[in-house]
Symmetry: C2
Subunit: 256 residues, 2 copies
């Protein structure tokens, strides 16, 4: 049974202001919660159904986690999802939130004002899949600890360094010769370009694309070409979703 004040506290963490005040966020779903448990996140509370607790007994015992058994209907009162999952965790935001201290040796993703939490989470999951350990976000990018972002990472949040900083300042200090890629309507066909495995890939805002201030740093303009099939109406889509574009670009870099 959950107290009213506990329910109120957990629900407050759906709002950025309270996440910053309490330095906590919520994570839901068995896959995500167990991933955070295994990756040494500080977890201040786990709320789960009896079935989930029984299934995950070894992991719970090994890490001395404190788990409160609650009913499915109590989970419905704290979930941020449309349909609640059998487990919700209240997790501490890591104290050593990453500050920018130089570009990684490999590929870096740089997000210029991504607004949709699902897109941010999905891009972090893509970075994890394609072995890109560094994701740099503009200060205007949606919060990493938004419940929808956390959810969409499917646990990859535990493995990817996500840094928020001033992109113009950061790009101003970049080593000469470093390749900076971005997609533009007047870019070169990505499928036939040389792509440097130590470069920076910029993903622009969902509706505005890459901002002018950031675009000035791009050294190589790329284009994902659309395809017009002869016998149908297709090929008129004006753009791709930001996370879809990120996936296609990362795939192109990594297949070489």
């Amino acid at each position: 049974m959950l107290s009213k004040s506990r329910i109120k506290h957990i629900n407050s963490l759906k709002i950025k202001k309270f996440r910053e005040l309490h330095r906590q966020f919520i994570a839901e779903g068995s896959k995500l919660v167990t991933e955070l448990m295994k990756n040494f996140y500080q977890i201040s509370g786990i709320y789960a159904t009896r079935e989930w607790i029984l299934e995950n007994e070894p992991l719970i015992t090994s890490g001395n986690f404190i788990v409160t058994e609650i009913s499915a209907s109590d989970l419905n009162r704290i979930t941020a999802l449309t349909t609640s999952s059998p487990v919700l965790a209240v997790v501490d935001i890591p104290g050593d939130s990453y500050a920018f201290s130089g570009f990684s040796e490999g590929l870096t993703l740089l997000l210029d004002d991504i607004k949709d939490p699902g897109n941010l989470g999905t891009i972090i999951r893509i970075a994890d899949w394609f072995g890109i350990g560094q994701v740099i976000c503009s200060e205007t990018t949606v919060d990493l600890y938004n419940p929808k972002t956390v959810q969409a990472t499917m646990g990859s949040i535990a493995r990817i360094k996500v840094i928020y900083c001033d992109l113009v300042k950061t790009l101003s200090g970049i080593a000469p010769g470093k390749k900076i890629y971005g997609t533009f309507l007047d870019g070169e066909n990505i499928y036939s370009q040389e792509l440097d495995q130590t470069g920076v890939i910029i993903i622009g805002n969902e509706s505005q694309g890459i901002s002018h201030e950031v675009a000035q740093f791009v050294t190589d303009k790329l284009l994902i070409p659309g395809f017009h099939a002869p016998n149908n109406l297709t090929g008129s889509a004006e753009s791709l979703n930001a996370s879809i574009a990120a996936a296609i670009i990362c795939s192109e870099f990594r297949r070489r």
Copy 2:
């Protein structure tokens, strides 16, 4: 000003049962609504702010559309979005809903039980970008006219033939020699495989992948390989989101 019964009717269309009863769906956002207006959808009502009406006067007049001016706060009472847009349309579901009548000559996407409306809409947008005019869905796939699906297509719904049917029956009748692709953990590296531009690409369910009944028809098993960077923790993501996988596969087919 909207009547109570009108508000009730529009809100009922967020539920599949009522969309089927009234044969109507809702579309929101300027891009999407104007796309449907230009593509000859039957629109029974458009509800918009004064600003939107002034901006779109030529299109409204050219198609004799009936537009009701309402306030932003009234739009908030009917929207299916978190933040309402300046326009919402009530659109008739096309009477000639597509029945399966054979595979197209080009590529076909076949969706095996996609559950997330955002994924379905995003996949339709990807099909449009890559010139794939035919999308076949299992009967268990989420409804095409779910507001979140419609939204995520960003207008591509007007150009792509989406067919719901029994996948096993449909695949049983396929011409011998036709290539049927699907991704599996024991598949062949997609980046080095021959890919036939007249094939069928199967995208599986978000958590279960491709079902056993459908998998038996696959002629070529593919794998999108992950990438493990030497100096970081990445590469442990267990899977990619269904629409992300669809994007990478379509991109691979089309770049050849």
